[in-house]
Amino acid sequence: MKLVGNQKVLRKEGVAKVTGYASYIDDIKMQDMIYGTTIRSTIARGRISAIHFNSKMDWSEFTIVTADDIPGKNAVTLIELDQPFLAKENINHYDEPILLLAHPDRYTLEAAKKFIKIEYDLLPPLFNIDHSVEKKEIIWGDNNVFKCFEIKKGDPSLVWNKAAHIIEGSFETGAQEQLYIENNGMIAVASADKGVTVWGSMQCPYYIHKGLMPLFNLPADQIRVIQTETGGGFGGKEEYPTMLAGHAALLALKSGKPVKMIYSRSEDMAVTTKRHPSQTKIKTAHDKNGKLLAMEIDFTIDGGAYLTLSPVVLSRGTIHAPGPYYCQNTLVRSKAVATNHPPHGAFRGFGAPQSIFALERHLDIAAKKIGITPIEIRKRNFLKKGQTTATGQLIKEDIALDKILDQALKKINYSKKKKQNDKQKGPLLNGVGFATFMHGAGFTGSGEKYLASIVGLRGTSDGKIEVLAGSTEIGQGTNTIFSQIVADKLNLNFEDITVAQPDTANVPNSGPTVASRTCMVVGGLLSTCSEVFRQTLMDSTLLKKKHTKSQFKKAITQYIKKMGEIKVFTEYKQPPGIEWDDKNYRGEAYATYAWAAYAADVTIDLRTYETTVNDFVAVQEVGKVIHPTLAAGQIEGGIAQGIGYAIYEKVVYKDGQVKNNQMTNYIMPTSLDVPPIRVFFIEKNKNHGPFGAKGIGELPMDGPGPAILNAMDDALKNTKKLPLTEIPLLPEDLHGVLEGTPL
């Protein structure tokens, strides 16, 4: 039985999950374990002037860690070293960590927080992108700018006075919480002679490994990071867990005991990274038929108080900003700026949902002004094989976006619904809308080359194979697809493959579990590594070229008997022909792209300003689908998050503090809020990845925002208050747009 493409393959760790026996970090207890918590700033910007410990509390029972207890460098290792693990003097955002406390009793620990008082000298904070750009205060570097990019193709300035139509627009998107159902958590053990070990919920064990070395000033082999079953990530457990692992380990080192730190939901929602809010200004020039002659896009994101991963998020948002369209003259300028919000960070889509929202909304607006349909404006501009993207990347595959779009329109019954909706008067108004887009798989440009990911395969004495990779299972199906790929490649059974728990002492660094890269890039490496494994057995003469399953398994057993161990590794090598100029942002931005058209059918109730999504269609070309059920599950889940992003989920900040840090008042879609989500895969262009698989994890986050807003705009087409240019658009926001006053 072929396993790749077979939906009958069961999720590798599925039984443990459906029976409740899968072990997440909060399910683990250790002997003498104590609990840790974090004391945080209650201002957004200023300096610490005094810290008081009230003498009514017996502090001798507590372990207290301050910045002065840090043995190494007090900086979270990411792109820059600007963010401290613990603030010593300067405060740059609300809820910034200042002190760590640990105690054997959780309730006493919680109660003790009230007995610490911190005094500050206040400084004026910045909470707004425009104020940051205008340098009302300088809060980071010498101009508040974390990073800028520019992509230039042709010269838009030569086109403006020749164009039949020039359309300008400006768009905004809000922050969004990842809202994995398992909060962030870690357990750490540390000692001066044995080093540091942490267990926890995470996407990227080697990011944490890299971050703990300088914090403790210890060599690589003295730091060990182990991933426990992880209850969702979506980017929210990409960079932040390094901070929490550091905190738990600092308390463990000082107390000499295992320390568990589990965030409550309210702490997790208040302090961990969220999707970057954005502003986009777009100016396009078109000929009389709507063909794009020039595009000028200014894309700005709010990075929050520290740089974290903002430059990389900005990069992806910038490259995706011109969409899947061909335009000879394109200029994209982008900026990530500092504010005194808690740092924003990785979230599924990584900048692309923001810039794609702006462009897809803009094209609908432009079509209306030009007097053509949203379908026409896109079909006249879709990228085709042989054309180049804004970065100058030559499209070598037959994309057929027009066919992808046609299928989505047909499935949502677009033209019939359009006609029906023409006659409606309210108060229930229906609308249909869609978005077309692409998502690049894997790291941008030369990213994969620099990562140089490594995977391994180890034979076991019972003739099975263990996958060795730092890539994490976070619900998306890593364990299952890795097993399918290796088993098929070696003609073994699914049960013959096991996947090692990600543990930096046992698995190589296969790169972070991000960027829709796990299946395509790491799965591809495992496919190659499988060949190496077989070749090793054949070279040893224990395996003949033609062999059966049982001969293969027997050869593994014999090899181990004779030589002690069979373990092979494969390192990523960039395929020839991929050129990327990081300075000028020219060349092959991504090895390949997934292409998609998403369509939404909505109803707006003018009495309550509520929007309901009635039907959602997602058509995508993703190369080979490795596991149809898991892949559809990825798309459906991403779309539900995208629906939330569009009409339900709003992060409310007041003076830099997240005010709705509860599931009660931050509303993610429930089972009653989701429409039927209908997913269709087109399997072609199978030139990349294992068995031809492209990345799919982030793609579904890109389309729902603009598709739903385009449908809402369609429903409201007879009002004069349009266009809709912002997400999220909750009932109170829509009331504001339509009635001129926010509720």
Binding site: R11, T19, D27, I181, T670, S671
Partner: protein, 158 residues
């Protein structure tokens, strides 16, 4: 306040819990009884990850004082499968049809689906959507969960 003795039937076994009367049933089950299949997602009754049965009623154990377990029958996710030995048809369907992804909401979701099927022999999709609306899932978009419950209806009990 002192800990009290609470007698109950836990997953079919006579058990006596030792807990503060107002201690959350969630904590008593997890910390004292080691039944960690019941998860905490929000601690305020919004997400349903901590769903258990008291007698046959579905409750959020993060909102239930342990004292309420007195003389009651408590069932957790571990109890459904006889401690992992035999999957119920709902568990089998979740496994087969993609109802579980990261798995953290899964125990609660399966408890809620089990309660629905006890209450209603042939629920339709709307019944399922309503019955699961107190259980949040961030991974699946719910489609595969609905499908799992619908498919479970057609599976035999063996």
């Amino acid at each position: 306040m002192k800990e009290v003795k609470i007698n109950c039937t836990l997953n079919g076994k006579k058990t006596s819990l030792q807990a503060y009367p107002m201690e959350r049933l969630l904590d008593t089950l997890r910390n004292q009884q080691g039944l960690t299949g019941t998860k905490e997602g929000c601690g305020e009754g919004e997400c349903g990850a901590c769903s258990v049965f008291i007698d046959d009623q579905l409750v959020n154990s993060c909102l239930v004082p342990s004292l309420q377990a007195q003389e009651k029958k408590i069932t957790t996710i571990e109890g459904l499968s006889q401690n992992g030995k035999k999957l119920t048809k709902i568990q089998k369907a979740f496994l087969k049809y993609g109802g579980a992804q990261c798995g953290i909401c899964t125990p609660g979701m399966i408890m809620a689906a089990t309660e629905l099927l006890k209450r209603k022999k042939n629920p339709n999709k709307q019944d399922i959507m309503e019955a699961l609306s107190g259980n949040l899932c961030r991974c699946t978009g719910y489609m595969k969960i609905f499908e799992s419950v619908l498919k479970a209806l057609k599976m035999s009990n063996t």
